[in-house]
Amino acid sequence: MSASVFGRAAEPILIDVWSDVVCPFCYLGNAILKEAIEQHPHGSSVQVRYHSFQLNPGFPVGEAVLADDYLAQQYGMPKAQIEASHAQLSARGAQSGLDYQFPKSMMINTLDAHRMIHLAKAHDQEPAMVDRLFRAEFTDGLNLADHGVLADLAADLGLDRAEALKALETKAYEQDIRADLSRARELGISGVPFFVFDNKRAVSGAQPVELFRQALDVTWQDRAASPA
């Protein structure tokens, strides 16, 4: 009897991803994870679930500054060091088809952006919204603290713009976001992106695609070895 047909192996591999919209490594890690899933022989049996994480929850809601200015001010990083760091990440991103435009990226409080991800999840559009928000932040340089911008992105995905605006104005999905943050604390997650495979194995960071393939392989083997 084939474990790939019956029992646990017939259920999708669950990958829970904690990430933040202003996290450049989360954009990269998400792209690399997708590569690994596409390459995996059982990639069609994988379900990715996204969870909210805030790198900078104390940043004032509604405000936006250029991320480079924020880095320079917050950490005293010389401009040359910032540019060198960006160049390295841009090169890695290009290998995964990402177009980082760091000089345009904005630092914001991402709580409202996470509301849009939860709204999209309610309409089975969660992965598309995550992708769109990353591209808006790191390629388009949009201000994701602006409710109008967020509602436009929701409408781009076919969601109702008025519903998106209402979700922002009423601070919807607060409980879901808090639950994601609370679970992250329980798991001891102190940095993102963070990937959990079938609630058992974990990968921290935007690691090379080989590590994600390894995580998928061993998770699939776990399932084949476990009783139905």
Binding site: L187, S190, F194, N199, Q207, Q214
Partner: protein, 48 residues
């Protein structure tokens, strides 16, 4: 790097027999050994 509820590398998950409550504590996550030292943004906003 996560600081709790996590075991490094491929250590075996501890048996849960000691959990006294009706609902067993979740097993610690098994961290895969990173291939690259960079790639994480920390809670203070620092990315390395």
């Amino acid at each position: 790097m996560p600081s709790s509820n996590v075991v490094e590398d491929d250590q075996q998950v501890e048996a849960e027999a000691a959990a006294p409550a009706a609902e067993p504590a979740p097993a610690p996550l098994i961290m895969l050994e990173p291939l690259d030292e960079s790639g994480v943004c920390a809670v203070d906003g620092w990315c390395d």
